[in-house]
Symmetry: C2
Subunit: 231 residues, 2 copies
Amino acid sequence: VEEQAGRVIIAGFGRFGHIVGLLFRSCGVFPTVLDLDPDHVEMLRRLGLKVFFGDASRLELLHSAGARDARLLVVAVDDEESSIRIIETAQKHFPHLQIFARASGRPHAYRLLKLGVNRIYRETLDSSLELGADALRGLGFRAYEAQRAARVFRRQDEATVRELAKHWATGTDSYLAAARQRIRMSQEAIAADRDGFHHVADAGWDTESLRAEFGAPAGPETPGDADPLTP
Amino acid sequence: VEEQAGRVIIAGFGRFGHIVGLLFRSCGVFPTVLDLDPDHVEMLRRLGLKVFFGDASRLELLHSAGARDARLLVVAVDDEESSIRIIETAQKHFPHLQIFARASGRPHAYRLLKLGVNRIYRETLDSSLELGADALRGLGFRAYEAQRAARVFRRQDEATVRELAKHWATGTDSYLAAARQRIRMSQEAIAADRDGFHHVADAGWDTESLRAEFGAPAGPETPGDADPLTP
């Protein structure tokens, strides 16, 4: 696989980009990294990764980093405005690039969705769900049940963000009404799934696809491919 | 399960604590929340959660929130010093509490380990691995392989943090030497696991426990219970 992997660029090598880069490297994929921090640059050279020092939203820098022949751009910078600028430049000049973007929170995610970026990773979402699922186990929930609750929650939350993004630009009232409705739907869907889980005969909301997901060894859904959740 | 769940306190209801609180709520566990931000407090009341406004490191506030009868304390504040103060107060006055703590990054995690806190969740670790695993799929890796690489990486990284925490206090040279050694070991372990994965007959590093983990529907390891990884 690695040979066909093509070139990968990571913009930003702080806490987030660092982990992505080391994971890639452990799989034989050697990314080119763009970063503003000279300390990071030194560390990257020691790791044997190709580094370009500078602002990743500058067209020349993306060119130098090989964006024309790259397949994938990971935008892992921690500054929201910088993230938006990099993506706008990349979309304009290198529309073939797959973009995977870190987001600080929901408002940032809404902006990314508006730009047409689908692979969005809110930076604290997964660790808070990890903590939550482990804490549920600490309270006596079974491992499978806690893990499943977190998985269902994540799907609902992703769907909610995609739905609310449509209302976000249109004004506060429409947004708040939609937010309230989504919260109701989420709670109902999670309750229905839990009932379905406790009483296996009752195939609740979206239970089939979750069963398939949990039964198979496969990984998580690709956010870009996620079905809108319509309970 | 819920009836025996006992009481849960969440300190901090920003991006991180919010998700933990909503996950609990979706499972029928209604936490008591401590927060400094009046905006959060208003939102929490609307969600029907019990809220105490103030500094969660104050003994009186923890008392009012029911820390004596609680089972579990989630420390989800985003400020490192505040997190340490809350934990020191809780450990001193409510030693029976299970503590689950958010950490900003490695240095914060080292401090928490030194305090004896074992359930530590570095706030961007899991989302960066989610992005990384999805991006590997975008490059053509199979879902299972990408997910597994991320899982192996996470275990190694957790073990590295626990190992380096011992050297962290002892001074820079010892720390750097240990860090270099762990990086070497991690890369070797991941390579060995990948070989084991590609050539199934070759049972590589820790492959048995990973197989069990992936084969069973169960959730993630509890960090507090994780074996130190000694390849």
